[in-house]
Each structure stands twice: as C-alpha cells, then as structure tokens.
C-alpha cells in the first residue's frame, strides 16, 4: 500500500499536489502528513505584498470574523493597531495563500504551518510588492519564505528610502534578475546609488505618469537629469524613470555614456518637443514640419540619422537612440504629447520589445 512506500517517494508524489490538496492530504494519516512536510513545492511565482487598501482589508476582515475563522478573530483582537500596522499577504503559487498581521503570534503561526506544507519551495519569480519593511523586516520575510529558490526578484517600493537590511538583501541576490519599481515616490539618491546592478529600474508609470498629472510632485516624482546620468553610470541594464529633463547637453551625455558602456544597457526617457528640438540641433539634425518622423540630417557627423520602420534612429558609436511620438490622451487630465526616447547599447531586441510594450 501507499503506507509501505518510502517517505521520499510519497513526498515525490506530493510534489505534484497544489496547496489545497496538500492541506487535505496531510490530514489523511501520519505517513502522508510527514510526506507533505518533507516534499518540495514548485510554483511559478511567490508574491508577498502588503495590503494596499487598509480600510478595505479591515472590512474584509470583519466579514471573515463573522464567518467564524478563529485565526482572524485572534488577529482582529487589536483592530486599532491593525488599521495602522497593516498585513502581509503571501501567495505561494496560485493555490496556497496566507495572511499575517504583524503580531508575533500570527507570523509564527504562518511560519509553522508553511513548514508543515512543504520542505523547500522553488519558484521562477519572487515578487515583494509594496512591503512596509519597517513593519515586516526583511529578516522576517525570509523566515516566512523558508528554504526558497528563485530565478528572479521583482520589488516594488512606496517609501523614499530603503532600510540597509533591504539593500543588503538585494545585494545578496544581485546575481539574480533583479527588478525595482517605485510607487508613490522615487527613492532618494543615496538609496538609488546604493542599489546593486538591476535588470530594470523603473516607476509605476500609471501612478507617476507625467508632469501634467494633477498629483505630480517634482521633488517626489521625478529625478534631476544629472542624477539620471549617475544612475546610468551605475550600469543598470535598463532604466525607465521620470526625469526633469531640461538640458539637451545632459541628454547628449547620457547617449555618450550608454554608447561607451561595455554592457547591454537601455535607457528610456519621456521628453517634450522643445528639448527634443534643441537636442536634435546639437546632433546636427532638425525636425521638418514639426514631426519627428520627418527629420533631416543637416551635415555628416559622428551622429548618423536613419529612419527604421517609421521610427527615427540616431546612431552614435555602439548606441542607438530611437524617438517615438506618444500621446497620453487616456489620462483624465487631457491629452499630453511627448516623445519617448530609447537609448540602447547594444541593440537588444528582447529588451526593446519587452520595454516598449
């Protein structure tokens, strides 16, 4: 019978079970309970995120409280604290979900149960979304994850800085594919400069859309152009940030830095027409009839202009700069025309296609 199979073989069977089945299988008999605890769990993505809308979360909790779940009742016992301290939601793949408050009892309860549902988890992607690391320190996050293998990490932040322990965590996994997306505000420059080399550094564009957005704040939501230059020199593979781009010479310098880079780099920028005109003049080109798809090269120079699939391209050394006319008409505050500039070295179609999309 199954009970006669060695534990490691039953654990191998268990490795093909999803979260819900694991919960049931461990209640069948002691042999299966132990096999589940010793099994590996392979999922696509692990997501840890702080509840985004605290009021809504509290409302959901009230409903759950009424449904009689004892653990919620326990977590809810200090509801005043709860409103301010928030929650952490943990999704191991699509079928195993936990929620914990900051209370030690809750965190330990989740860790203890997680340990009984698998021995080691492997995921392609670990996503740490909008976690309040002051409330849930990175050490606690790692305890919640347990023995965990993953290929890439995506982090999103909403504060102006990162704790040293979080930066240390990022550096520890800098050999993985690491992505950082900033929400609500951009990290301060010392923190940005302390980041390890990233695969992609960006903001949540839906929230930090553009200088004409009603909530836009120059200090919080955009980077000075010289700071962008410093970040490009940090050799992040791809950068797409809102920048207060005012000086065409700084744009030229970014092009030069990317051109001289010895790694594949891609920088995307949103700029307005006046700056673009000044920049094109600087690289011996001009816009005809006010349309970027009609650019004329005034004289031969180190900057070579050509049109590729209706997109103007300016080449300098190893770098190519593409110019794309865009309109943000979907935003509530009206149509905003801007130009999206992509500076790439070397041409990496995978990078380009993923970021343009």
């Amino acid at each position: 019978s199954l009970a006669a199979l060695p534990l490691e073989l039953v654990s191998h069977v268990a490795s093909f079970l999803d979260g819900i089945d694991r919960l049931n299988v461990r209640a069948v008999c002691k042999h299966l309970r132990d096999a589940i605890a010793a099994s590996d769990f392979e999922v696509d993505t692990i997501i840890l995120n702080s509840a985004d809308d605290k009021k809504k979360e509290v409302g959901n909790l009230r409903n759950r409280l009424n449904s009689g779940l004892t653990y919620i009742r326990r977590a809810f016992s200090g509801s005043k604290q709860l409103k301010t301290q928030g929650y952490l939601l943990i999704h191991f793949g699509s079928s195993l979900h936990f929620r914990t408050s900051v209370f030690v009892e809750d965190v330990e309860g989740v860790i203890s149960t997680r340990q009984k549902l698998f021995h080691k988890i492997r995921a392609q992607h670990l996503r740490l979304e909008l976690i309040d690391f002051a409330t849930f320190p990175i050490k606690k996050i790692e305890e919640l994850l347990g023995a965990c293998e993953f290929d890439q990490i995506s982090m999103s932040t909403r504060s102006g800085t990162l704790e040293p322990s979080v930066l240390a965590f990022m550096h520890r996994y800098s050999h993985k594919r690491l992505t950082l997306e900033m929400h609500d505000r951009i990290l301060d420059m010392p923190t940005l400069l302390a980041l390890p080399q990233l695969h992609f550094l960006t903001v949540a564009w839906g929230q930090l859309e553009f200088p004409k957005s009603p909530n836009w704040n120059k200090e919080k939501h955009a980077l000075p152009e010289r700071d962008l230059l410093e970040l490009v020199k940090q050799r992040h593979a791809s950068i797409f940030l809102p920048v207060n781009m005012e000086n065409e010479r700084d744009l030229l310098e970014i092009l030069m830095v990317v051109s001289a880079s010895d790694i594949a780099q891609h920088v995307t920028l949103k700029v307005f027409l006046p700056l673009l005109r000044r920049f094109l003049s600087l690289v011996d080109c001009e816009i005809i009839n006010g349309e970027v798809d009609d650019i004329n090269q005034i004289r031969p120079s180190e900057f070579v202009f050509k049109s590729h699939q209706y997109m103007p391209l300016i080449t300098h050394g190893n770098a190519q700069m593409s110019i794309l006319k865009c309109s943000a008409s979907h935003l509530a505050y009206g149509s905003v025309r801007y130009y999206q500039i992509g500076i790439t070295n070397p041409i990496d179609h995978v990078l380009l296609s993923s970021y343009w999309c």
């Binding site: 199954l2 093909f16 209640a27």
Partner: protein, 172 residues
C-alpha cells in the same frame, strides 16, 4: 555512444532473466551505473548480467514503457519554467497505466512500478507514475482520499484538531 545492437541481461528479484537493448537501459541511471562499474568494453557482447531488485512482472511493464520512450531526450529535464503540474501525462502513458491500474488491483501495481522506477532511477517513469497517483487524489476530500488510497486514519482526535487549526492559517 550506445549501439542499438548492444544488449544487457537483467536478472530479477524472483530469478528471471531478461535481455534488453542498451537503447532502453540508457534511461536507467541504476543500470547504466552498474554497467560502468563493471568496467567492461562497450563492445563486449553480451555484458555480464545486472541484478535488479524488481520482480519479473513489474520489470516487464518497465521495459514496455522504456520501449515506447527509447528515443526520449537525455538527460531528463529536472526543472521546468512552469508551475509543477500533474495533468500533462502523454496519451500513450495514460493508456499504458489504464491497462493494469484497475480497481481490483487497488494501486498495487502502480506502487510496484513507482518503486521500480525509483530503484532503477528512471526519472521519466517515476514522474509519470507519481503524477498518476497525485491525479487520483487531486481535488478530493480527506475522506475520499482515505478511501482511494485505502488508508486508515491513525490520528487521535486531538491530533486532527491540531491539523485543522494549523490548516486554518491558510487563506485557501
């Protein structure tokens, strides 16, 4: 390189002997290691017999599966880029299992093949049979699982209560 005509004799736990092509045994880590350990010239035909801790009836099933999968790529892929799943068993394998995994058999043959695949280190067969077993209990209640697997509940009431309490930490 393994030549199609190379053959190896396997002796089973119940004393039978079966001679099979190295084209099949190359998928068995155990048999390949045994042959390597013999340190014989690959051209020496026939090789000395390799003893396997599998009975004759089960070995015949293993050989039938190996014959169908003789051209599978080696090494067996350990990791995939997707969530581990049990619903991707090839049609031939499903039909192969259905022939002998009958209700009357009560999974005994399936357990025997799982054990044999493990002992002979045939990863493809081990995964397929373990997925088959996982599919039997997938989506079932605790009681249904006990019935399908013919297992008795050996928990005390207190232990069961503790499991329910632990499981309640999950949001599922």
């Amino acid at each position: 390189r393994i030549y199609p005509l190379m053959r190896v004799t396997l002796t089973t736990s119940d004393g039978a002997s079966v001679t099979v092509s190295r084209q099949l045994t190359k998928h068995s880590g155990f048999i390949e290691k045994a042959i390597t350990d013999m340190a014989v010239d690959d051209n020496a035909v026939p090789l000395s017999a390799v003893a396997v801790d599998v009975d004759d009836a089960t070995l015949k099933l293993v050989i039938e599966w190996l014959t169908e999968h003789r051209d599978d790529a080696l090494p067996y892929p350990e990791k995939t880029d997707e969530e581990r799943r049990a619903d991707d068993i090839p049609a031939w394998d499903q039909a192969f299992v259905q022939k002998w995994d009958t209700k009357e058999d009560q999974q005994q043959t399936l357990y025997a093949v799982i054990t044999a695949a493990d002992k002979l280190d045939i990863k493809g067969l081990l995964d397929m049979t373990c997925k088959t077993l996982a599919n039997k209990i997938n989506g079932k209640t605790v009681e249904e699982m006990r019935e399908i697997l013919q297992l008795e509940c050996d928990f005390t009431e207190e232990e069961l209560a503790e499991i329910r309490k632990e499981n309640a930490w999950c949001e599922n």
